[in-house]
Symmetry: C2
Subunit: 340 residues, 2 copies
């Protein structure tokens, strides 16, 4: 392990001089010494020890990113956006995946605090649990007091800068668009009961239906992933089996659930959109080539991740909340309802 001191000795200069040339300091160094140092560094294959630099400088070049699940394309897209701005600023990204365990989320914030990362970005829905939220908030407060920046993507529940997707509004717009197609009875594959993002989407959707004077949707809960969508759609199909007038349209609160629902319907011989229309939420890029193409609400995920990191990195007095609105995209998975 070769150090700055080795380089300095090898170049016949002082430690300070070596430091000055190898780290883009403000101070200037004479051309000849500079050359010697650079040569020595190259010959020895010197690599600065970032930990030592961080200690001496009191600030590192790492940011932390906490996501629920990297395999979920939703988080992958957010992470990608954040990593692009990190890259642009010469920062490294330390990633933690909670696998949807709120305890792990808290633990990661503590760990990232210990790493003295410059900023931490929390991506993903909060869950409706006051105790957990408080603990996470305390952990974040401790981190911010020590000078770190924090931003969230999801809900503004932590008193931090936040990028909040228009879940309720987007779902409401979607409901209106679907009603515009002639649908009157709906089902919602509503995700987990405690997940705020899911709750908001359900509420927005149901609220718009109510405003339109349409009946409340049939709610089926389940996991927030593909298998959850499959299971919920299966349960839905079972439940309405004997009905004379079942829902003509199913809204899955996110795209991956919608994919599961599509698979479930296919397995049971239910045709989409002929027998039932299906819509999702997010507009995941990887899923755009699905057949039938999914109607959904588009969210600029990459931009949201990028924006959130910018907020976390650029300090501000007050906690800023930026709302991002989704755009309804109607494709082949939904179609005009047959007139009654």
């Amino acid at each position: 392990m070769i150090t700055l001191e080795d380089v300095a000795r090898h170049a016949g200069v002082s430690l300070a001089t070596a430091s000055r040339v190898l780290n883009g300091s403000t101070r200037q160094v004479g051309a000849s010494l500079r050359a010697k140092v650079e040569l020595a560094a190259a010959q020895l294959g010197y690599r600065p020890n970032v930990a030592a630099q961080a200690l001496a400088r009191g600030a590192g070049n790492v940011i932390g990113l906490v996501v629920h699940d990297l395999v979920d394309p939703y988080f992958a897209a957010l992470a990608d956006g954040a990593m692009r701005v990190a890259e642009g600023r010469g920062l490294m990204v330390m990633v933690g995946t909670t696998h949807r365990d709120p305890e792990r989320e808290i633990a990661y914030v503590a760990t990232l605090n210990a790493q003295r990362v410059r900023a931490v970005l929390l991506a993903g829905s909060r869950i409706a649990d006051a105790h957990l939220t408080r603990r996470l908030r305390e952990e974040l407060d401790g981190y911010r007091e020590s000078g770190g920046g924090v931003a969230c993507v999801g809900q503004d529940l932590l008193g931090t800068d936040t990028v909040v997707p228009g879940n309720a509004e987007g779902a409401a717009d979607l409901a209106r668009a679907l009603a515009g197609l002639g649908h009157r009875r709906f089902a919602v594959l509503a995700g987990p009961a405690g997940l705020v993002t899911a709750q908001d989407r359900v509420a927005g959707f149901a609220g718009a239906l109510a405003e339109l004077g349409l009946p409340a949707p049939l709610l089926v809960h389940g996991a927030f992933d593909r298998d959850g969508g499959y299971a919920a759609a299966t349960e839905f199909a079972d439940r309405i089996a004997g009905w004379d007038e079942g829902p003509s349209c199913v809204f899955a609160v996110n795209d991956v659930m919608a994919v599961g629902a599509l698979a479930a319907f296919r397995d049971r011989g239910i045709l989409v959109p002929q027998d039932v229309s299906v819509a999702g939420f997010d507009d995941i890029a990887t899923l755009r080539d699905l057949v039938p193409a999914l109607s959904t609400v588009r969210l600029p995920l990459t931009a949201m991740g990028a924006r959130a990191l910018e907020l976390a990195l650029d300090p501000a007095g007050e906690a800023r909340v930026e709302r991002i609105s989704g755009e309804v995209v109607l494709r082949e998975s939904t179609r005009k309802a047959a007139p009654a």
Copy 2:
């Protein structure tokens, strides 16, 4: 920013004692002092400074992961596997995305070296460029000399521990399976000319065809992603437009390209598998619900990522190379060829 010294003073003990209780050292500490220290640490909200610990200990608790693109589900799955073992060992993961720029890959290795990460994992195909490969190798050698572990997922070109997917063998198996379905003329959406993974898959596929006495496949190059698959499939369709006997089966060298190909065929009214069969490679989980379901070669991506990190973390004298074989999975996107 409160330090260990603050805690020690607050608890009325020495720095060493505070250190001993707060970091699970081997040494034992009396119950009363221990309690005092823990109380003080809690009251003050003490967080160890990992950079300082790393400096003093000479070893950190972070590992580096370099991938081409996190949004590509192939890399997301590899990363997920690696992150799971990291989590199990109490390590944090620093991620760098190269966006397929080999220069960035080299730069990331240098940066991770500076971070003194315990191990680095390079995921993704090498490219066929001797100069670039040599430079990367030098960078890695420097890192390993300083005690870091390195592992790759892809090809064994860097003299490191490597998990190598059976690209050629898998593609050959696939070719035989497809020939077994009666296909005799093939096209291959071959990816970029310089990408070793793509080359290996093409070579394995073509080799098996040759062994079977079948004509060499029509090769169409393009990007290694969804759009590349779309473009290549479009070009393919244009090229064979006037032929009296075109290929009845198209092999896209990875699943995301196959998705693009499916979309391209759909847009041109070409039916899969009626008009042409399509197969991919990887068996990306997110894509399993496609219609028609994609025939492909399944690779245990998550396990591969996990295994690679284990190799990087557990030192060995010689560079180990572990071959992972893929399994052909025939689904609906390929079907029996009509007898000539």
